[in-house]
Subunit: 421 residues, 2 copies
């Protein structure tokens, strides 16, 4: 494939930097453990900062530890174009989830530097604090506070399993910055990320043009029956909580498949991921099961429909088996569309470069989904092997990373140089 531009990012340099930062927190199985605000996160941040400063970029840190590396524009009064992602990882994470978006942004900065390009608007490369949420229990914490979706005080008071609060952890690694964490005027935000799903690989596309994020509804469920002796209790006397819960698992799956289950593009998502049985003894009929249910869909209307019908369908299953069901909505996230102009810039970049691309909706949450609530935002996806992520075996090909970074370069450059009315 020919890349149809003479302003090319350096794919080898990008890959080398990805591999170098992956050494920080490297795991024996080839993954990365770089938990947010840990010693490894500190080392990753310092390496990132040194790379930025080597390019003459000025790095600011805000009070949530979000890092902004600024490259000045010809007009310093224009609001900057943001790009970036996150450097923290899951406990058994991969090398690319988050790091790709940050290091590709660095490669954009390096290319602008090498080619002596001066953009109209400033460009800022962002490393958001705690996207993963696995240490303090709230994913996308830094971008949530920045976007005004969470209060800084309550986020800083969150504790990890050892009782350490966010505020203390920020200070301990030296990244409780002086800038207030708030959504300063910014012209746009672009985030490159691995897809974490199988669609691009299945379709043979190099680039995903992300048009928004799915609507979601999450429930906590508890079925209560009655513990009794497996050997003596006849069918008619049973109130088996596990049987009811099993039927609800099937219902969730069936609702998901109502919109198709033969193509990777079928939009339904419905999952029971956490599921705990009590008393969990081999010869006791379970009296209680606690589990989580989540539905996601690109269609806001479909999630609204599920929210209106699923609880009654689940209740009917519980009652038919003489058990009780409590079902609480944990949260309801509306569909978050991305900015049409920013999405168009991504699409035009992919077209210009000749990369096979598809429009798609993000199944996962990302920092960009939060920034989309306050500034024009878009995302670029690259394929990942077998759709695998949150796993040490997470893998992408160097040419896929290069293609994603090149699209990021084109989109950011176009946005930063656009004419202002």
């Amino acid at each position: 494939m020919t890349v149809r531009t003479n302003q090319r990012i350096d794919g080898t340099r990008l890959w080398d930097s990805l591999m170098e930062i992956a050494k920080i927190g490297a795991t024996p199985k080839g993954g990365v453990k770089r938990l947010t605000l840990s010693e490894e996160d500190r080392q990753g941040r310092l390496l990132f900062q040194s790379w930025c400063e080597a390019l003459g970029l000025k790095v600011r840190v805000d009070s949530m530890g979000n890092m902004f590396a600024r490259r000045e524009g010809r007009d310093p009064t224009r609001p900057p174009v943001l790009m970036g992602s996150h450097l923290d990882s899951q406990p058994t994470g991969g090398k690319f989830d988050g790091a790709l978006g940050v290091i590709a942004g660095l490669e954009v900065m390096r290319t602008l530097h090498d080619l002596n390009i001066v953009t109209e608007a400033p460009i800022e490369l962002v490393n958001w604090t705690d996207e993963e949420g696995c240490r303090f229990g709230r994913a996308m914490m830094g971008s949530a506070v920045w976007s005004g979706l969470e209060r800084e005080e309550s986020m800083k008071a969150r504790r990890d399993e050892d009782g350490v609060i966010v505020a203390t952890a920020l200070q301990e690694i030296g990244f409780a910055g002086p800038e207030p964490c708030a959504s300063f005027p910014a012209d746009a935000m672009f985030e490159l990320h691995i897809e974490q799903g199988p669609l691009l690989e299945a379709g043979g596309e190099k680039i995903g043009i992300v048009t928004g994020a799915q609507a979601q509804i999450w429930y906590e469920a508890e079925v209560t029956g009655f513990d009794s002796h497996a050997g003596t209790t006849p069918p008619v006397a049973r109130r088996d909580a596990l049987l009811t819960a099993a039927r609800i698992v099937e219902l969730v799956d069936a609702i998901m498949r109502e919109e198709g289950d033969t193509k990777v593009t079928d939009p339904g998502r419905g999952t029971v991921g956490r599921f705990t049985v009590y008393p969990n003894s081999p010869n006791v009929i379970p009296g209680r099961v606690r589990f989580n249910v989540e539905f996601r869909n690109v269609s806001e209307a479909r999630i609204a429909e599920i929210a209106a019908t699923f609880p009654a369908r689940a209740q009917a299953l519980a009652e038919a088996n003489r058990t009780n069901l409590t079902l609480n909505t944990v949260f309801r996230v509306p569909a978050q569309p991305f900015d049409a102009d920013c999405v168009a810039l991504v699409e035009q970049a992919a077209a210009k470069l000749g990369y096979p691309a598809r429009r798609m909706v993000s199944g996962a949450g990302h920092d960009a989904v939060h920034t989309a609530s306050c500034i024009p935002t878009a995302m670029i996806f690259t394929p990942c092997k077998d759709g695998l992520s949150h796993n040490e075996a997470e893998s992408i090909a160097p040419d896929e990373a290069e293609a994603g970074a090149q699209v990021l370069f084109e989109a950011v450059l176009a946005r930063a140089n656009r004419a202002i009315k």
Copy 2:
């Protein structure tokens, strides 16, 4: 109801002794915690021994701690008729599971004593060691060794959660007896026990004439799929281990109900009691589920049929959902019929006394199920409230205890006085 005999056990004395021994290990919720070979078990054994010795009975203890309180017969050379049960309890057990059979046996001894009855054969009242199995993991341990179904050395080497072995625990409570633990010649064994199920209560019967124990087959199962992201993985790409496991839970239930699910007498039993999901995270499609499956039935042929067909049916469900199933048979217990003559004595006693009674099969395991493998054995069941057992709320009525003890008295007396050919 008139009890049609002039040889009557003393129901008040029986109840008082049941309540007195229930003080040892009494729990705040009205139950009993008298774990085998614990300090409470020692106290219970000593109280039991003192009650027996007050009647002039000679108490022997064997090397597994089984206690035999002998009342001599007119012909000391005849093999004794055994009766009894166990004094150990579950951690959150009730007052009657086990204790009823031992204390009712004591009341039989007291009545024989009061009425100056001399039986032809000797009678021995047994307290079997560790029926519950909850401390050392092997239920009915004492009767298993006595019946030759387990090796004494391996049982004595079993450990509790603190690492204490059975041999040490026996010595510490002073009940590692001098008699070898082995099935000395005995003429019969009768065990009175609460039903631990709902059949007698539902049918309004006072007495269950237990004709044997159910056949059983137990499996350990593991379904393997693939962990993946709940938000990004489309239906067609999912390999959800929980969905397969849920369908097997439904299959087990359906197989149970094939023989009916409207009457308390329906014979099917099929249970998934232990069920653990991995990685058990709210937004990860489960890649693995481990669970136990058990089937029981009065019909040996029915369990054989299930053993021949269930694995393939479960495998088909796993394959249809693109997951793998391993299914290992943990154990297979054949149906254990009780001795026809001994069962007839129980039936005749209930009829003579005018108690509504039904023939039934034990759903649970009991010491008598083990002794039935080497000596003529029968059991008597009494109702328990709501069929509840292995629970501190386990409850029976005083007149139910009395009726059971009276039947035990009649059956044991008849057996001990039978003419020998």
